[in-house]
């Protein structure tokens, strides 16, 4: 801006009233007391203008991420989303599910209570949703219909979803490793971030940076369904080691032995 502009601005500021606390509240709420002598309405309208196409370009990736996250959290709850997203229950999904559930339950120290059905209804339902394949019962008067998994607190856990064969045969080990790093990084934002080179390589493999999420979700999802994959099992996250409840279910539902830590590389 030039001197002239600054001068004009200064003159105008003197001419108009100074914005006070109450007026500021009204202005940001879009309800100025007077016809806005400051011209801020124009600025605010521009700032909250309807979205451009580009701003909404990532919807598919976001929904894919949501489906993957939800699949992990409640892999055995039947619902209509199943017909669009093939449900793949796998050792990895179970491990993650257990880790997530243990984290949630450990907050109240209630993992054992969950197994014996002694949680408040809400928490019990949640525990059941997450751990139904491991034998956590639903609350007695649960509002939702119980899923197909075992409902009594039995030790004979069984995955109730049949793994579907992978849709894509390409399992590039490099891309896989990168995706596992990406997955770990997005899961633990405080941990190690992807290096610039890794990001670059991943973007290239995926066909663009905006496609990374889709790409990795698909790749990791496919892989977990193939027992012969090189590093399909993810051990439960370190740090939630208080895990009372994860012992039994963990062992009985994990089809593939020899877990490898992808972060260990």
């Amino acid at each position: 801006m030039g001197l002239w502009g600054a001068l004009q601005g200064a003159m105008r500021t003197r001419r108009t009233r100074r914005i006070g606390l109450a007026e500021a509240d009204r202005l940001v709420a879009g309800k100025p007391s007077s016809p806005d002598p400051w011209g801020l309405g124009v600025l605010f309208d521009a700032a909250k203008a309807p979205p451009s196409v580009d701003e909404l370009a990532g919807e598919r990736a976001a929904v894919a991420g949501f489906l993957a996250a939800h699949r992990k959290a409640a892999a055995t709850t039947p619902s209509k989303r199943r017909n669009r997203a093939q449900l793949r229950l796998s050792a990895r999904a179970v491990a993650l599910k257990v880790a997530a559930a243990v984290t949630v339950l450990a907050m109240g120290g209630t993992a054992v209570a969950a197994q014996t059905g002694k949680l408040p209804a809400g928490a019990q339902q949640r525990a059941h949703d997450m751990l139904s394949s491991l034998g956590v019962p639903a609350p007695d008067d649960g509002p939702r219909p119980a899923p197909t998994g075992p409902v009594r607190p039995s030790k004979s856990a069984q995955p109730s979803a049949t793994p579907t064969p992978p849709t894509s045969a390409t399992t590039d080990p490099v891309a896989l490793t990168l995706c596992q790093q990406w997955d770990a990084a997005s899961r633990k934002p405080h941990g190690k971030a992807l290096t610039a080179e890794a990001k670059h390589a991943l973007a290239e493999a995926a066909g663009g940076p905006s496609k990374v999420a889709d790409f990795c979700v698909a790749l990791l999802g496919n892989l977990t369904a193939t027992p012969s994959g090189p590093a399909t099992t993810t051990p439960s996250q370190p740090g939630d080691g208080s895990g009372n409840g994860k012992g039994k279910g963990h062992d009985t539902t994990r089809p593939t032995p020899s877990p490898q830590d992808p972060r260990g590389k």
């Binding site: 203008a49 451009s52 701003e55």
Partner: protein
């Protein structure tokens, strides 16, 4: 913008695992999240927005409350991811992260997108707000664009409501003194007079 009633249904569905419900939430809130993050972390906004939604998707089953609470919850996640991003980029100042941002990897999608956005009124407004001191910029974005009230904004920022109100007021004073704002407002007024439109509405796309 989607009404809170519609949003409430979508929220309920999304919590139950319905992808259509989640898509509605995303479509109605992603623009505000992205714009807030543009002001806070600039070029990393898209990545941080993705991280924000991934975390939201993971934790959604634990969320309880209606759309206003959800909005606050989501922006709290966005802010934390933005803080992480700033820590990350501070930790690797020498790394060629700029090359990833700027050249081949991003070029196709990014250039076309940024060209459109650069020229828009929205980008102009966000640039002006981003030029404010950080606490004022954040307060203004959360109040105006995210549509949070004082209490929710204070919660997101971890500050007292009074502090938020003062930061907002100072931000508005600075913006009101900006010659660019004045010029646009004058133009809008002039065009409003000519076209018979009410004064103070959004300006025209181009001149």
């Amino acid at each position: 913008m989607v009404s809170d009633d519609d949003l409430a249904e979508a929220l309920k569905a999304a919590i139950a695992g319905d992808e259509a419900g989640f898509a509605v939430l995303w479509r109605s809130l992603q623009p505000a999240v992205l714009r807030y993050l543009r002001v806070v972390v600039g070029g990393a906004a898209e990545d941080v927005a993705s991280e924000t939604w991934l975390q939201a998707a993971r934790d959604l089953h634990r969320f309880e409350g209606g759309p206003p609470a959800f909005r606050g919850w989501l922006f709290r996640i966005a802010r934390h991811r933005a803080i992480d991003e700033r820590r990350r980029s501070a930790r690797r100042p020498e790394e060629p992260s700029a090359s990833f941002d700027d050249d081949t990897a991003r070029a196709p999608a990014r250039d076309a997108a940024s060209e459109v956005v650069e020229g828009s009124d929205t980008a102009w407004a966000l640039r002006l707000i981003a030029a404010l001191p950080p606490d004022q910029a954040e307060a203004v974005m959360l109040r105006v664009v995210a549509g949070l009230d004082v209490a929710a904004t204070a919660k997101v920022l971890g500050k007292r409501p009074g502090t938020v109100r003062v930061a907002t007021m100072r931000g508005l004073r600075r913006l009101a003194a900006n010659p660019q704002v004045q010029a646009r407002a004058d133009r809008a007024r002039w065009l409003g007079d000519v076209g018979g439109n009410p004064v103070g509405r959004a300006g025209p796309e181009r001149v």
